[in-house]
């Protein structure tokens, strides 16, 4: 396709970014809390042997998943990864359907076909499900962005990748093509310091990922991944630029994986001090504090905390009570 003019180098002003709009802040808090409640419940269920197979915790990543997801509009498309439970939720995927997926139930998002948070795609919610092979969601999401460009639709496609995923060829190929085509594509890198047991310095020579964007003539911005306002502001700006035809952006959200890689992993390889340090920056507690400072009533926050408990109670009950798929369906739907 005809290519745009040489890139405007990302200007420093672009670092000046806004926070979540006042009136939406309690809602943002709700989605982070809902995800956390879901996550805590899931972990205890699996510890109790009430789970099926393994699963992933997104604990500590709520500000990234919600901040980025909140910056999107209804008809934008997003492909969350395995730490982004909160993003599925705020797009409208019910806790019930997600618990159903984790438990392999017929009412689960993938109807028992795919495991844990995998395969939770639902185009009616603008969600593309991911596969294990990291990070195939990048080029696939670029494809969604290219479709918007093809049809001159003012829509944006966003996806996530971990620090580990940035070592793959797909990361490079996708960013290169996104910049060549100036596609309305936004990539949020969740730099949580580890790829499974492998620390950042064994994955890459330099500890910062945002600067890698410059190799593609693309804006790259690093933000505090435990600050939902910071994430939202940076992503909202990138999304707006993409929507206006300004091309792709990369945002690095620095955070920490607070539990093991997956449910079975005790993560003994992570220094305890590191976790203690990051626990102090818990994105939800931090945001609650900010809300209080900004004049939100304690009661309003408490109400949200109570509401999410009730919603997760109901979701778990419904999902556990739901039937498993019928074996006769095993060969159905391989083809459209």
């Amino acid at each position: 396709m005809s290519l745009p003019r040489p890139p405007a180098q990302p200007s420093p002003q672009e670092a000046a970014i806004g926070a979540v709009p006042e009136r939406e802040r309690i809602e943002v808090y709700y989605w982070m809390r809902l995800a956390r409640e879901f996550d805590d419940r899931m972990v205890s269920m699996w510890k109790q042997g009430r789970g099926v197979g393994g699963t992933f915790s997104g604990r500590g990543h709520e500000a990234i998943a919600v901040g980025a997801g909140w910056a999107l509009q209804q008809d934008d498309v997003v492909a969350p990864m395995h730490r982004d439970l909160a993003c599925y939720l705020l797009r409208g995927m019910t806790p019930e359907r997600i618990f159903g997926n984790l438990l392999g139930k017929a009412m689960g998002v993938s109807r028992g076909r795919d495991a844990n948070l995998h395969g939770m795609g639902d185009l009616s919610l603008g969600i593309i499900g991911f596969i294990s092979h990291l990070p195939q969601s990048l080029p696939v999401t670029l494809g969604a962005a290219m479709a918007f460009r093809y049809r001159d639709e003012p829509r944006v496609a966003l996806t996530f990748v971990g620090d580990g995923g940035t070592s793959t060829g797909a990361f490079h190929e996708t960013l290169n093509m996104a910049s060549v085509y100036q596609a309305p594509f936004v990539l949020v890198v969740e730099n949580n310091q580890y790829a499974y047991s492998t620390p950042l310095h064994e994955q890459m020579r330099l500890p910062d990922i945002a600067p890698k964007a410059s190799a593609y003539g693309m804006p790259g911005l690093a933000v505090d991944g435990n600050d939902v306002d910071a994430v939202y502001g940076a992503v909202a700006q990138a999304v707006a630029r993409a929507r206006e035809g300004g091309g792709p952006s990369l945002i690095e959200a620095k955070t920490m994986r607070m539990l093991g890689h997956a449910i079975h992993d005790g993560a003994e390889y992570v220094p305890a001090e590191l976790l203690d340090e990051w626990e102090l920056r818990d994105p939800i507690r931090r945001y609650a504090g900010r809300l209080l400072e900004s004049g939100v009533e304690k009661a309003e926050i408490a109400a949200v905390d109570a509401r999410v408990v009730a919603e997760i109670d109901a979701a778990v009950a419904a999902a556990e009570a739901a039937p498993l798929p019928d074996p006769s369906e095993v060969e159905a739907d391989v083809y459209a």
């Binding site: 498309v77 795919d114 990048l138």
Partner: protein, 345 residues
């Protein structure tokens, strides 16, 4: 059909078979099919390395398409098979119908994850349909060496969720191209590059579509069945001619589709003659022919009058030097010899 009037002059210049009844080459038939689909559906687009610009592809299959349809619908990609193939999946999820060209079928392995892990499994996992077509110029015999001669279809036939076709004639190339583009699933379209300019044929009138999954009996016979696809259909027909002179009547079944296989047609010809030779240019070991032979031996065992024989390439990389490549791949003479033995069994 509008598509047959639209840009008619160009058609004549290009000779892509849209001017009805004309004899066109296999390559022109593919180009004609692409143009036909680009014309009838604005969601169809074409991309891959060097397919755009004034160039039109390593084999010129897409030559002239940018001029006719514009560089939004027909465009070049960087050298990034893995990601432009998954990009096609994302576009397909949004309702487009990309036709992706692999410069050579050999390079399809670079896009393996995008095909076998993402695209092939997606609909089963969460219902997102991925209607793309990968065009893969395959096969050798033309001194192109180990990396420009491959026949990798067996990898994909073994992969759940894909469809695989391999036309052997201009009419089927055109009809299967249309069927593949309109299919709501990922379809790998193996075009045999040795046939590009070596064979000609006419395209049936109208909106010619060859359903995926249907084999074709291209020669009827009674003594032995030769089941083949791609270039080997033509070798089989030559072999059958040779045998006819000796009083051996060979039936030739062109599979056309490799996934799904036309099980009924395969079993029917096997039961009819009781003697079957399965042939393909890909290496024989664990190739598609193994599935076809095993299927026959399992399903119509009682009707067989001889063991099912298989001919395929040797289990080595495709060698470059003429005497080595000739020894490596099947051909009419080897087919005739094997069928002759079967007939005499």
């Amino acid at each position: 059909m509008t598509s047959d009037n639209f840009g008619f002059d160009a058609a004549v210049v290009d000779g892509d078979g849209r001017n009805r009844g004309a004899e066109v080459t296999y390559l022109e038939a593919i180009r004609g099919g692409i143009r036909h689909e680009l014309t009838r559906d604005p969601d169809v687009c074409v991309f891959g390395e060097d397919v755009g610009g004034s160039f039109g592809g390593a084999f010129k299959v897409t030559h002239g398409l940018v001029a006719e349809f514009g560089d939004r619908r027909v465009f070049n990609t960087p050298l990034s098979e893995l990601s432009f193939t998954s990009m096609a999946s994302g576009m397909a999820l949004m309702g487009l119908r990309p036709i992706v060209e692999m410069q050579f079928a050999d390079f399809i392995s670079s896009a393996f994850d995008a095909i076998v892990q993402f695209a092939a499994t997606n609909h089963y996992r969460w219902g997102g349909a991925i209607p793309w077509v990968i065009r893969a110029p395959s096969d050798g015999g033309i001194r192109s060496g180990p990396f420009h001669s491959q026949n990798p279809e067996a990898w994909f036939v073994h992969t759940p969720g894909l469809k695989v076709v391999a036309p052997a004639t201009p009419a089927d190339a055109r009809g299967l191209l249309s069927a593949a583009v309109r299919d709501d699933n990922p379809v790998i379209y193996f075009e045999a590059k040795p046939l590009y300019r070596s064979i000609r044929g006419s395209i049936p009138d109208g909106d010619h579509v060859v359903p995926i999954g249907e084999a074709a009996t291209v020669r009827t016979g009674s003594d032995v069945s030769i089941i083949a696809y791609g270039t080997q259909v033509h070798e089989a027909l030559r072999g059958a001619d040779e045998l006819a002179g000796e009083g051996v009547s060979a039936e030739v079944l062109d599979l056309r589709s490799l996934k799904p296989l036309d099980t009924a047609a395969i079993l029917q010809t096997a039961a009819k003659t009781g003697k079957v030779l399965v042939v393909h240019a890909a290496n024989r070991l664990a190739g598609v022919g193994a599935e076809v032979a095993a299927l026959i031996a399992e399903e119509v065992w009682e009707d067989l009058d001889a063991p099912v024989r298989r001919l395929g390439a040797l289990d080595t990389p495709v060698p470059f030097s003429p005497p080595l490549e000739d020894a490596h791949r099947p051909n009419a003479a080897k087919i005739a010899a094997a069928a002759r033995e079967l007939a005499a069994y």
